[in-house]
């Protein structure tokens, strides 16, 4: 049974009446998806609730597993290899807590306004601030996309796949998922690929981690070998950037809108986000546990790429474990390629006022699909340039993401507290306090990084060394 009809006979804001409304291809597909949701909601019982969850989950899991991307997994791998089991295990869990706080706001915004993030910033605050945030997003997304192809290339390199072939395979897979021209199908295909991120969990079990040390790390946030150094701060920022980045805000809100979530679905949107965060945390912690073996065996991994990590791990976890590790890196890069290029295309369509939905046929969404295809193709081509300092680029991308996050979060904060567009869904006081804390933490981490670059000996002096 469909939900109660919208009161079409009382148009607000000068909008047309039901008879005048033009229904597009996008509306038809979304409408059919919503009919299924309404039917599941109308029935009672646990199975209907489970079906409702199945129908409504997607953007949250995708954004969280999408953010466990190539550079993120390499950051976690570098963390485990350089710092072992200690401070960073609980720290990474904390960063996913921050991600939940931030991403939940985009679910509310998307469900309440049915508008994408870029669209809302432009319309509510004007083009001046709109362009600032769009440029931040565009530059960040493009750099990140390059690193995803780096990860795919490096991961497939472990199996002897030539770089051009690996990059081409990734592009073909990305374009194939889009050929369905259906948000639902695209989402399910991408979710299926994203589930591969959990491959790091069995790899961690193959590494036989010291569970006592793991428990001790979560209980005490110790040890922290080396103390407060520039290397520590870069890893700290890279790990934060591995969980909270601007593209996530834009993607989840736009995907929430494209999927057609409404105010009634916010509870499931929250479950979706938390579930995604739990899965992503499991994969992140597992990766750190695996590479902590390199730390305990005193193997230097500062300049490792995915293939080197897998090769170094091979004598310690076996060929199967090392192969799964390399496959996990490929998967991480692949899912992020899909989600990040989609986030760019959504933002472009919203700002340029062109149709922007994965439910659009190619003919009706030329601009949207062109941005998506072009971003991916150019990033893929750049990765094939010989002699590019790939490892450094990967870590720096996460650092840049952290630096760009506070301005993006302030826009999110302003929008989600805007009673005129949010109505009774404005953020409660405690959520605002947490969001403010996240902004302060991110800005503080960025400032510390800046100090460490400008005055490299500052922290040594502070520690009296």
């Amino acid at each position: 049974m469909p939900e109660a009809p919208t009161p079409w006979d009382s148009p607000r804001n000068g909008a047309s009446s039901a008879a005048d409304v033009v229904i597009t291809h996008e509306d038809v597909d979304r409408g059919h998806d919503r009919v299924k949701v309404s039917a599941a909601r109308a029935k009672g019982g646990i199975f209907s609730q489970a079906r409702l969850l199945w129908l409504l989950l997607g953007p949250g899991v995708l954004v969280m597993l999408g953010e466990n991307d190539g550079p993120s997994m390499l950051s976690y791998a570098a963390t485990g290899a350089q710092f072992g089991i200690g401070f960073f295990l609980p720290f990474v869990v904390l960063t996913f807590g921050m991600a939940i706080i931030v991403q939940e706001m985009t679910v509310r915004l998307g469900s309440a306004t049915h508008r994408g993030h870029a669209e809302l910033i432009f319309e509510r605050f004007g083009p001046f601030w709109g362009w600032f945030s769009l440029v931040d997003l565009g530059v960040g997304n493009f750099l990140t996309l390059i690193t995803e192809f780096i990860a795919i290339r490096a991961g497939l390199g472990f199996f002897g796949v030539p770089p051009w072939a690996g990059v081409l395979c990734a592009l073909v897979l990305l374009y194939s998922a889009l050929l369905t021209h259906r948000y639902w199908t695209w989402e399910r295909i991408t979710l299926a690929i994203a589930a591969g991120n959990l491959v790091f969990v069995p790899v961690a079990l193959l590494a036989h981690p010291d569970w006592h040390a793991v428990g001790h790390a979560f209980g005490t946030w110790k040890p922290l070998p080396g103390g407060l150094t520039q290397g520590f701060l870069i890893i700290l920022l890279a790990d934060i950037g591995a969980t909270v980045t601007p593209w996530m805000l834009f993607f989840q809100q736009s995907a929430t809108v494209d999927k057609g979530l409404t105010r009634k679905d916010i509870r499931f949107g929250r479950i979706d986000t938390v579930l995604g965060a739990i899965l992503a945390t499991a994969a992140a912690v597992a990766t750190m546990l695996v590479t902590s073996l390199l730390f305990t065996h005193h193997m230097s991994a500062e300049n490792f790429q995915a293939a080197e990590f897998a090769q170094a791990l091979r004598p310690l976890i076996g060929r199967v474990g090392a192969s799964l590790f390399a496959l996990g890196i490929v998967e991480a890069g692949m899912v992020a390629c899909v989600t990040i290029s989609t986030s760019s295309a959504y933002a472009f369509g919203e700002v340029a006022r062109r149709p922007h939905s994965l439910n659009l046929p190619i003919g009706q969404g030329r601009a949207f699909y062109s941005v998506l295809y072009l971003c991916a193709a150019v990033a893929a081509a750049i990765v094939l340039i010989p002699g590019l300092p790939l490892v450094y680029v990967v870590l720096l991308v996460n650092v840049i993401a952290v630096l760009a996050m506070p301005p993006a979060l302030v826009f999110l904060y302003l929008l989600v507290n805007d009673r005129e567009i949010m109505g009774d869904l404005v953020s409660p006081g405690w959520a605002n306090a947490l969001a403010t804390l996240v902004v302060v933490l991110l800005t503080g981490a960025g400032v510390l990084f800046g100090v460490s670059v400008i005055a490299p000996h500052f922290f040594a002096l502070l520690a009296g060394k």
Partner: protein, 72 residues
Amino acid sequence: MTAKELEQLILAPGERELILSSLERDQLAGLKKREIPRRHLKGPELLVLWSLRIYLLFMLAVVLYQVLHGAH
């Protein structure tokens, strides 16, 4: 081909009513062209936004320095 003509090609009998009843008004692509009223930012909000903008530019310069320093 106009949007109206496209619509006639796509929709089966009764489908229009089904779509309209299953979607909220603002979810229809055609109605999204209606703009949300502009909100003018106040002093403290502008101060925070400009501060963060300057912070971002400064930090990007720091990162650039770090990259060049690392390259050498």
